[in-house]
């Protein structure tokens, strides 16, 4: 058997056991060795107790596209973890556990699975009274041995995690890890792996961190939000950095205030954003229309989690597409973008900030818990702070506004001028002489409301058509779907949207390796919908399957509405967990077989 280039590690425990920080040190070590990492933290909405597991796939090549399947190594930080996950360890795998506390009698391990008990009290005699937290470090030391990780880099990762302030704690952890490594060495051979990194240091980022970074780089100066999982980490990333970057991060009393403040800031002339989950977005919807009606640029991030209602606060789902499509009363122009990866989340944000100002309308970024909270390695060379900043036409920009505005008085300034593109030059409040009112009521080109007059059908039609004309521009300014492969000579076309890009890519790689010709189309720019391109791919396909993290197939429904195309097969998952590679591969293969089911559901147990 050849040595595996990729390995999957699960770390399980109760909330408060340090599962995430243990996982982070492992990710940091792997990343700094030049390995590729994809980590997913499956957690609960409790602060202490419950069950949490952190799943990491690490590999020597860039084919690390998901959290991996069953574990090669399971680190069980409590009894519950070993009881639940012993069956999820692969043949030849190892379970690491605290043998002082965790009982293995009655636990059935799979064929060839080895158990590595850590006598924590004995191994940490030099540090009495702290064995509770030290089991994590011991286990990490053992993991370094089993995976053949670089000790020096591991040590550096521990030190950088604890920082200079806690140098003593860092030293203690290094010695304890060493004890764990020595113990493991005395008991077991390392796994047969080929985990040699290329030595290139990559950024370890979550989707939300990428969105937050993208906001700053894209010139966002104002971010308003109310805490809500899984969007809060955007706020958490910005809060400590915002003041030094000249960005106001405003925590508001609720989501209604958040979006309205962002609209106020956008109207005043700064790039502004807000972010929330589905429930918070439900509260924001009226104001989305306000931004469209007053032609105010604003970017809204909606990070989906399991719904409806409070639903599954810490679990992933793609169930809010139609909420976003139906948000706010009336009809108005807007863009909806579903980023497909962590680096795409960065660029989707900078792009959204441009579109919002160029077209003076709301732009929605639709993410989900998986994309926003999973961590992966990103080549830092693919990220840049030199992104284009397109602000659209602003009359007498602030820099010049201290003098005269240069706008001739012969022609009256019309804030909402009816132009061929539907976009009217903006005068920011404070610009001398160009006073106008931006109104949520229907208004004329000057901004004077027509809602209170007896009837003014002509102006209404003119203004409606002016705003809706922006849709044509938005369609031209955004790209069609990402297509990999030729639908006509492929056995099947796989379709997904947003965060499922990478798992579907993993399926595509596997099928092609088996000699199956396959095409993959990922929808990223949802509104305006690039119907012609999507339809062309689907109509050229022999078989089609739409893969979505929801119950009803919201993208399939949208595609049918926009193109009248009906998918042959659908694969759904709405159990709160992301798709897993092995079952998804089987389900896609089932679609290729005769008499394939029209609808398959994936369930992770």
């Amino acid at each position: 058997m050849t040595n595996k280039p990729r390995v999957t590690v699960w770390i399980g425990g109760a909330a408060g056991d340090g599962v995430a920080s243990t996982g982070d040190i492992f990710c940091k070590t792997s990343s700094r060795m030049g390995l590729h990492v994809y980590a997913y933290n499956s957690y609960q909405s409790v602060i202490r107790g419950g069950h949490v597991y952190y799943q990491v796939q690490v590999g020597a090549d860039s084919k690390v596209l998901s959290q991996g399947d069953d574990a090669d190594v399971l680190i069980a930080l409590n009894q519950d973890t070993i009881n639940r996950h012993a069956a999820h360890i692969r043949e030849g795998g190892v379970v690491i556990y605290n043998s002082d506390k965790i009982k293995t009698e009655g636990i059935k391990l799979g064929a060839g699975v080895r158990a590595l008990g850590l006598p924590v009290t004995q191994l940490t005699q030099a540090y009495p009274g702290k064995s509770g937290v030290m089991q994590n470090t011991l286990a990490l030391g053992a993991l370094v041995h089993l995976l053949g990780l670089d000790w020096a880099i591991f040590e550096e990762s521990i030190r950088s995690t604890f920082g200079k302030k806690k140098a003593e704690v860092a030293e203690a952890n290094v010695s304890i890890a060493k004890a764990g490594l020595e113990h493991a060495k005395s008991k077991l051979e390392p796994l047969p792996l080929a985990l040699k990194g290329d030595g290139k240091r990559r950024s370890l980022l979550t989707g939300n961190q990428a969105i937050a970074m993208g906001s700053v780089i894209g010139g966002c100066k104002f971010y308003a939000a109310y805490p809500m999982t899984p969007a809060s980490s955007i706020m958490h990333w910005l809060a400590p950095r915002a003041p030094k970057y000249g960005v106001v991060m405003k925590q508001c009393e609720d989501e209604i205030a958040s979006i309205n403040m962002a609209i106020g800031a956008g109207h005043a002339g700064v790039r502004s954003m807000t972010g929330t989950a589905g429930g918070g977005f439900a509260l924001m919807t009226e104001a989305v229309g306000l931004a469209a009606m007053t032609e105010t640029p604003v970017v809204i991030v909606e990070v989906q989690r399991g719904g409806p209602s409070t639903g599954l606060p810490t679990k992933t789902e793609q169930g809010d597409l139609w909420q976003i499509l139906g948000a706010s009363q009336g009809e108005y122009p807007r863009a909806v973008i579903a980023p497909t990866s962590v680096s795409d989340a960065f660029y989707a944000t900078t792009e959204s900030l441009n579109l919002a100002e160029q077209f003076q309308c709301p732009v929605l970024i639709i993410s989900d818990l998986l994309l926003s909270e999973h961590m992966e390695t990103v080549d830092p060379d693919t990220l840049t702070n030199h992104v284009p900043i397109e602000r659209g036409e602003i009359i007498a920009p602030w820099i010049e506004s201290h003098g005269t505005n240069g706008h001739g008085k012969t022609e009256k300034y019309l804030r909402f001028k009816d132009t061929p593109s539907g976009v009217s030059p903006r005068a920011l409040p404070g610009t001398p002489d160009l006073m106008y009112v931006a109104a949520s009521d229907e208004h004329n080109e000057e901004g004077i409301v027509i809602s209170d007059v007896y009837t003014d059908t002509t102006t209404r039609v003119k203004m409606m058509e002016k705003r809706m004309r922006k849709v044509d521009g938005l369609l031209k300014a955004t790209k069609g779907p990402v297509v990999d492969g030729n639908p006509a000579d492929s056995a099947i076309t796989l379709v997904g949207w947003g965060s499922t890009l990478q798992i579907i890519q993993e399926i595509v790689l596997a099928l092609r390796k088996e000699g199956v010709k396959v095409c993959h189309m990922q929808i990223r720019n949802i509104i305006p919908f690039h119907a012609a391109e999507v339809e062309a791919v689907l109509k050229a396909s022999k078989k089609t399957v739409c893969i979505e993290n929801n119950f009803t197939g919201q993208m399939a429904t949208l595609i049918r509405q926009e193109t009248s195309f009906q998918f042959h097969h659908k694969i759904h998952k709405y159990d709160g967990e992301p798709f897993y590679f092995e079952p998804l591969l089987e389900q896609v293969k089932a679609c290729l077989a005769p008499g394939a089911p029209a609808r398959q559901v994936q369930l992770t147990v």
Binding site: G219, P243, V248, E253, G264, A268, V437, A439, D441
Partner: protein, 293 residues
Amino acid sequence: MAETKQQLTFASYKSQTPPDWCPGCGDFGVLNSLQTACAALEIDPSQLMVVSGIGCSSNLPGFIRAYGFHSLHGRSVPVASGIKLANHDMNVVITGGDGDGYGIGLGHFVHAMRRNLNVTYIVMNNEIYGLTTGQASPTTMKSTKTKSTPYGSIESQLNPEALALVSGASFVARGFSGEPAHLAETMKKAIQHKGFSLVDVMSPCVTYNKLNTYSWFRERVYKLESENHDSSNFETALKKSFEWDLRIPLGVFYQTERPTYEEEEGALEFGPLVKQKLGLSDEDWKALIKETL
């Protein structure tokens, strides 16, 4: 060219659109007093931003020559907060009614006072919903019969001044549109105040409120300053805020100085956001990437 300060008069704030309020509406007096106050303070109309919600009184931005934002019902305060945070060089005045500010927008009102941005909030309080044709509002007096309370309102009325005081407002005043000169003076003080200022204006609705009429108010109002009220004393102010049935105080209840939000917000040390550079320098970017490795 923008007017020089010397050229600014009452007429400088006159909009081309005439108000569409009912003849006799209290809001005319409020608009008039606001224009008088702005002229007296020589505020450049280009540097004045009037933000409202929805309701009869929220139409005010259309009737004053200034930058305006006529937002959603109840959302004037957050919209104005965003504007002020983005450009704190602007003079921001929020206008609206009792339903807009004390009903649907109440949550924002309370938090705005904690926040203490340097903005002025003028509420045209007519104790009724006017634009929706006469339902009970949060300030409708108990037992009042309205379209939505035909047997008399069961809920007690909200006390905006007391609420403002306990919510941490740094300036709390009441005006009456039947006393325009006094109202203009009160507005001047409010606009000049550094921090959040509330002017709750008794602005009678001649169409739907047959109880709280001009004469009803005239029989009750008196001026706090004529009774040597100490507006720096919080306890006295709170006590005065509970006077209503027999005597209704007008003028400044309370005024105190504390740092404004914009003074304490670190990002604004570089000046108004709208005048700041966008993005990050290469040096900051490199440091940021290093953090992620």
